[in-house]
Amino acid sequence: MTVPKNQPSPRALAWRRRGAAFTAGWREFAKQRAGLVGLGLLAVIVLLAILAPVITDREGLDVTKATGDRMESPSWEFLLGTDRPGRSVLLLTLWSARISLTVGFVATLLSVAIGTIIGILAAHYGRWVSAGLMRITDFFLVLPSLVLAIALSTVLERGIGTIILAIGLTSWPSAARLVRAQTLTIEARPYIERARALGGGHFHVISKHVLPAVLPLVFVNTTLAVGSAIVAESTLSFLGLGDPDPMRPSWGSMLRSAWLDSAIIAGAWWYLLPPGIAIGIVVLAFTMCGRALESVLNPRLREG
């Protein structure tokens, strides 16, 4: 079969359709002020985290080279005061963003990937595969994930990799349920039957038809889950399961130091507030973006 010269190829057509869908989605997203505010906040924070090595000096994180006094209150030299060894809290907060955001992103990707695979397989193969997989999913869904994550990161060597693994391996069940439900509705549609009738195998149907249709939902779920992963990271680090290296702080480990250094009794609010507020802002921004995206996909959620 040859394609007439002035007619675009099927691939180009598909891309044009995707482009149009994206533009329409973006227009809907841009109507929501909260979503835009969240996106703007995230852009600024991610940019600051990426540029941290350019605009600041990493040497300032070294405890032995700290220039400030012990828990100094904010001044022009240290805008947010210093911690117990005399490091700038502003510098620490900025550098912590790198670890906290990385762990949040990677752990969420891991968890959403596991959830998507299990959800699609459970819905596509049905019968006992589905029964077995969903039994496991339900089990992990009710299991207190923090307890499981604590157990995992106690037994494995402490570090960023372990924390990512602990969060990723314990937070996938809700994604799996969501993806399974969505896959079931998609597999019931006629175009899947057509693909099967034309001889499409399992792999073809899943990768060419089911996956593209499920991905928008997965994307929304990812956006909403990053916030939870960042909070989970801070909790695990607070409990002392994070990276012990002081040159690689995260917001959670900063709060742990503040707690262990009795910043509460010393009244060192400049040591206590910045990491927590940073977590709050980032999580809120992800939630606002996620909710805006959710209403792009689900018109029922739209206001008015």
Partner: protein, 341 residues
């Protein structure tokens, strides 16, 4: 945790499918059987995590301390770690069935004894704060969902989202910093309180104020958000129009028709998210040194006391599973549609 924002899909998936025949007894047996299978999985997982993972258990126990090869071999023998893996598993399950969770490495007492003395403080804290946060969340969610877009809705949803975004332990630390001197900062009761019931209860209540506020602040938000969106889903339903057409006042339509229906998915979620509450309890108990299972978990992980950690894992996970079976049974009583099927 992200699933709190899409309550209906999850609640639908959770709803027990209508059974044909068989009836109540079969339903109850299925649910209890499912709970037993889950509990068996917890026991296996507890073994896999603490014995079979590549990390060296004994090395974790000696973390940071010098140990001679003889000491390590001794300890391995004492805890039965030199046996083949399958033998260890058989011993572990056998001990567990006899109610023996092994001995704590640090406290030198049976793990079970330690868990028993820490169990009730946690039940007290989690129970009281769950009751308060469910009541608060349902009330706020109903009010904001019924008048969607009102000022109350916008402000309370914003506050709920903000509180939900904050790490539990940080909120606890802020409360401690903000109320210095007003409330006790640690423990459950002062040692010099008179032993009579009234003084003891008052002192415990005094100690409980801050931990409870922290727990409520981070958990009520999800109940509110779920109740709100669940009520909004019901808003367009025909039976509400019928109720209004009958001439019922707005208040009655809400109280007698909309809320009972919106309540069902929310109640299931309250139980489904108990794991989240337990996570909150671990942070809160750690910050306020509340002598419960959460603090015990923290102490165990701080010193690498693996038998104790294994014990708290099995007990906390088991408790959540029991509560979920209970929720499934309760759901049947609450939902007339499921009851009739």
């Amino acid at each position: 945790m992200s699933d709190i924002l899409t309550p209906t899909e999850e609640a639908l998936a959770e709803a027990p499918p209508p059974t044909r025949g068989g009836g109540a007894l079969r339903y109850v047996l299925t649910k209890i059987g499912g709970g037993l299978v889950s509990f068996a999985l917890v026991i296996v997982l507890g073994f896999l995590l603490f014995r079979a993972l590549p990390g060296d258990v004994v090395a974790t126990m000696f973390r940071g301390r010098p140990a001679t090869p003889e000491m390590i071999a001794n300890l391995k023998h004492q805890y039965g770690l030199d046996l083949p893996l399958w033998q260890q598993f058989v011993n572990y399950v056998g001990d567990l069935l006899r109610g023996d969770l092994g001995d704590s490495y640090v406290y030198r007492v049976p793990v079970w004894q330690k868990i028993e003395e820490r169990f009730w403080p946690t039940v007290l804290l989690v129970g009281v704060s769950t009751l308060i946060s469910v009541a608060l969340g349902l009330w706020m969610g109903t009010r904001s969902g019924w008048r969607r877009g009102s000022r109350f809705d916008r402000i309370s949803t914003g506050v709920a989202l903000a509180l939900w975004s904050t790490p539990t332990f940080w909120l606890g630390m802020l409360l401690l910093a903000a109320t210095t001197g007003l409330f006790p900062t640690a423990g459950i009761v002062y040692s010099d309180t008179p032993p009579d019931f009234f003084s003891q209860a008052l002192d415990i209540a005094h100690h409980m104020v801050l931990p409870t506020i922290t727990m409520v602040a981070v958990t009520y938000a999800q109940y509110q958000l779920v109740m709100r969106s669940s009520l909004i889903e019901e808003m367009g339903a025909d039976y509400l129009t019928t109720a209004r057409a009958k001439g019922l006042r707005d208040d009655e339509v809400r109280r007698k028709h909309a809320v009972p229906n919106a309540l069902l998915p929310t109640v299931t979620l309250v139980f489904l998210h108990l794991g989240f509450v337990i996570a909150g309890a671990i942070s809160v108990e750690t910050v306020f040194s509340w002598p419960g299972l959460g603090r015990l978990t923290y102490d165990a992980l701080r010193v690498g006391d693996l038998p104790l950690l294994q014990g708290t894992f099995v007990v906390l996970a088991g408790a959540v599973i029991v509560m979920n079976v209970f929720a499934d049974l309760l759901y049947r009583v609450l939902d007339p549609r499921v009851r009739a099927a």
